[in-house]
């Protein structure tokens, strides 16, 4: 890529950002980001923990939307790769003396490497079959973390690794916020440029995209790799945040949670992850008291959104009058 091309791409991102900032979602995101910046002074340490977890979850969900929403590769392996990133980071830091900050990046790299064996079937298959094959792979990784107990600590998980920033939570918070925003921006930049255009073309019709002269397998592989690596980074951050990593973090339940957030937020809009994360995760925290009932609500929400708001919350209009009108027009 030439310098000129990069400059053009950056310009494009800037103008799209300016455009998007004026939309309903744009304004909401600006407010949310402002809120996030002042979170350490506004919230109690316990609340701050929650916000930090939420930020990381949003990153993980966004990276899934990047793969599943934009390319239409409906992967179930994302939570497993998120977990792989977590395990890789903390094990590298604890056993091999890698600096924790560097280990976070390496967590992403390892997750990317782990996505490679399954990428071949993912590229070849389509629709529901991608979901099936990645679900099987995710299960293999999940059982792997239990079987390889010498490395992973087995079912009880892995603890006792060095902390980030010597345990300073506020510094850690800003680090997480910065990294999450930076990676989200990076994905956004990819998506508003040619890359995102081709991704959507592939989702609509892989054959047509190929005939237009795009190297579809290469695009899909890149998308899958980038998304998976970012999930790995998110997993590494989460491991350092909650100070433990264990098999439940990469179980199918976790995957379903990510998926629910992505779908409820909206698969067609990159910012959907933010809404989905806040609504599902935030909701879960607020409703902790009502216990499992919140999961009932969640399941129902997933159904209602898929049936009536296929573009999720970010992609739907909530103009009540218009909705009503549509209802009668039908």
């Amino acid at each position: 890529m030439t310098v000129e091309a990069v400059r053009l791409a950056v310009d494009r991102v800037r103008s799209r950002l300016r455009e998007d900032a004026r939309t309903r979602n744009g304004k909401l995101f600006a407010a949310i980001t402002a809120l996030a910046v002042f979170a350490p002074v506004m919230f109690s340490p316990y609340r701050l923990e929650i916000v930090m977890q939420l930020l990381i979850v949003i990153l993980a969900v966004a990276s899934w939307v990047f793969v599943a929403g934009y390319f239409g590769m409906f992967t179930f392996a994302h939570a497993a790769l998120y977990g792989v990133g977590g395990y890789a980071a903390v094990i590298l830091a604890a056993e091999m003396g890698v600096h924790p900050l560097a280990s976070i990046l390496l967590g992403g790299v390892v997750a990317g490497l782990f996505s490679l064996p399954i990428s071949y079937p993912v590229l070849r298959l389509s629709g529901a079959y991608v979901g099936m094959v990645t679900l099987a792979y995710a299960e293999i990784i999940y059982y792997g973390t239990i079987i390889l107990r010498d490395v992973t600590g087995g079912p009880t998980g892995y603890t006792g690794f060095p902390q980030l920033f010597g345990g300073d939570r506020v510094v850690m918070y800003y680090f997480v916020l910065a990294l999450v925003v930076a990676l989200m921006l990076a994905m956004y930049a990819l998506l508003v440029n040619r890359f995102g255009l081709v991704a959507r073309a592939i989702r609509e019709s892989s054959d047509a995209a190929q005939m237009l002269g795009n190297n579809v397998p290469r695009y899909k592989l890149t998308g899958f790799l980038v998304g998976s690596s970012i999930a790995g980074v998110a997993g590494a951050l989460q491991a350092y945040n909650i100070l433990i990593i264990s098999p439940p973090m990469l179980e199918i339940d976790q995957m379903i949670e990510f998926m629910a957030m992505g779908i409820i937020g909206g698969l067609r809009t990159f910012g959907g992850a933010v809404f989905g994360g806040i609504i599902v995760f935030g909701f879960s925290e607020v409703l902790r008291d009502i216990g499992e009932l919140r999961l009932v609500v969640w399941g129902a929400l997933l159904i209602v959104v898929t049936l009536y708001f296929p573009d999720g919350i970010a992609g739907s209009s909530f103009d009540v009058r218009k909705r009503f009108q549509e209802w009668f027009d039908r």
Partner: protein
């Protein structure tokens, strides 16, 4: 060196296990074959079957009544699922994914609604019989044998319905070409609902039959679902014959491999087989034998 006796015992265990697997998996493959739905709530239907059976047994004291109640209630659940959740989306381009997500939502909903409603306690389902037979050095649990027989019976009934009856003809027609089936006077919506009902009823039957082995609790359906999922993939989604062969084969593989390795490793083996089959031929075993 493994003794031949142990090997034979594990093969017999595998065979019985295969019958159970087939019973769970056949509904999953049926509904994909006919309606292109990968039903993620299949495990939840299994679970509901277990609970209905448990409570029905408590009320009536009759195992037959418990089985009947499970079949009827879960059939209705499948029917309603089709009309309320799947039918409205049928014209969508990404129906295969949307239906996956909606049934996943349903699974979460059902599992946790039960959790909230009746608690997470494991309910022990009384064994049909504790008796064992010893034949030629093999130990055979009579209960497992009976379960196996009922499974075979249920599967045979399903086969007969599909291959011999007018309903079966309509089901096959809709699965091959629903538009043309309409022109013959078939009502595909009804066929989908009946098929989903039957598929669910089979899961419900499995749920109550296996309750003495698995006990009954809200998340009991996931493990059998995952196993059935592997079976269905290896057998070839939509192929009834492939699914039967895969159920038997994989159950024996699992059973025999546990002589040497832990249960988790056996699961890894099954999932690896599934990925390999999907890679070689996405239509699975069914792709070879039906094609």
């Amino acid at each position: 060196m493994v003794s031949l006796g142990l090997l034979a015992q594990q093969i017999v265990n595998g065979l019985f296990f295969g019958g159970q697997l087939a019973l769970i998996a056949i509904g999953l493959t049926l509904i994909w074959g006919v309606a292109r739905v990968l039903n993620f709530s299949h495990g939840a239907m299994f679970m509901v079957g277990g609970y209905v059976g448990f409570f029905a047994l408590g009320f009536t004291g009759s195992v037959a009544a418990a089985i009947l109640a499970s079949i009827v209630v879960v059939f209705a659940l499948g029917w309603v699922t089709e009309f309320a959740l799947l039918e409205p989306m049928r014209d969508r381009e990404e129906f295969d994914i949307a239906s996956m997500v909606v049934t996943l939502g349903l699974a979460i909903f059902l599992e946790n609604a039960i959790l909230v409603g009746v608690g997470s306690r494991r309910r022990a389902f009384p064994a049909l019989t504790e008796e064992v037979w010893r034949v030629a050095g093999l130990t055979i649990s009579v209960q497992r044998f009976v379960i196996f027989l009922i499974s075979v019976f249920a599967l045979a009934a399903l086969f007969l319905v599909i291959s011999r009856t007018k309903l079966g003809l309509a089901i096959r027609a809709v699965s091959q070409d629903d538009q043309t089936a309409l022109l013959m006077g078939v009502r595909p919506r009804r066929v989908y609902a009946i098929t989903l009902g039957c598929s669910a009823a089979l899961a419900g039957l499995a749920g109550v039959l296996l309750a003495p082995l698995f006990t009954v609790y809200p998340s009991v359906g996931w493990y059998p679902f995952l196993l059935a999922f592997v079976v269905v993939m290896v057998g070839g989604l939509g192929s009834v014959r492939g699914t039967l062969i895969a159920a038997m084969g994989l159950a024996i593989v699992r059973s025999v491999s546990t002589i040497w390795v832990a249960a988790e490793s056996a699961m890894v083996l099954l999932f690896a087989i599934m990925i390999a089959v999907l890679l070689i031929n996405p239509d699975g075993i069914g792709g070879w034998i039906d094609g």
